[in-house]
Symmetry: C3
Subunit: 133 residues, 3 copies
């Protein structure tokens, strides 16, 4: 099976959940030695990113700095009131791409993969697919 | 034919154009059941993103919030005067990646694909390519 | 050989290094006529982007505008003090995807590929992989 999905439960309004282990499991499930893992976030108020995973304070700083990015005075029209979460979703991006070598994710030493929740808490999904090559 | 291009006409200085139907047509043209669609924007003052497509006010809020991101007082050097558009291009990204399953784009329920014009109005192109797998 | 890496030396705290020629060399090394080149940045305080490469003032403006994005007053917790660089890494993204046609990168007329250093000077690496299709 070279594609699938996994679920992510978020517990706060904004939260970066480490999904590196889910990504590793996807690669094992695919059983491919050389190729690329693609992760896709099907939600419009969340994103996917790769960043430092060793010091948990980095992801807290990212959430804090990202929230500061978005104007708190701009007169948003979307009635649901979560336009800042939609904006952060597009700034973060909906896809993560990681190479696979010898059956392992080829991440840098400090890199972990994160699901970025901007409108939680919610139950979320991440699609994955592996291409060989 | 597993790659091609389509054109996008923009009518304002900043505008998000829904290109989901163009992407669906590309998948049909490719005639592939399982794989990945890649879209690529060859312009430097525009981007591609996936976000909510049901309420049109979301994309208007995104444009408004993105414009607020860029400092209006920073002394830009680029003589053409459109450095903010170049900055938004890089923040948005030049590629969109969407999985294909059973011959259909595997988007989330609210997700549409947008061409993000930041320096219009202009006639633009989007390249596409489908990989099987 | 359809994957590899190249090194990038940065000389400033923040700097966009043009790596278009490295990407072209990767495509030559891969020896593929039709496909996609993926570049991956394994560092957490740097990114990859595509933007205007003809006027060098554009990349200087991008660095200036990106630095203005990040709050200078937010009380970051990460002891290393480089959380703004981590934030810009995620906003820029860790991957660049470019189509290959007739053995050449299919970039737009003004597009160059940049390694975005946000915490230099440092010696950096970029991984590459080419998929045929």
């Amino acid at each position: 099976m070279r594609s699938g999905l996994f679920t992510v439960s978020t517990n706060s309004a904004a939260e970066f959940v480490d999904i590196t282990d889910n990504a590793r499991q996807a690669v094992k499930t695919a059983g491919i030695e050389e190729g690329i893992l693609f992760l896709f976030n099907p939600h419009t108020t969340a994103g996917l990113t790769i960043n430092e995973g060793c010091d948990p304070s980095v992801r807290l700083d990212l959430i804090g700095l990202f929230r500061q990015l978005i104007s708190s005075t701009y007169p948003c029209r979307h009635a649901e009131g979560n336009s800042p979460a939609h904006a952060l979703a597009s700034l973060t991006g909906s896809t993560v791409t990681v190479f696979i070598a010898k059956g392992e994710l080829r991440l840098g030493m400090w890199q972990h993969i994160f699901f970025c929740e901007y409108d939680g808490p919610k139950s979320r999904k991440v699609f994955w697919k592996v291409l060989q090559g």
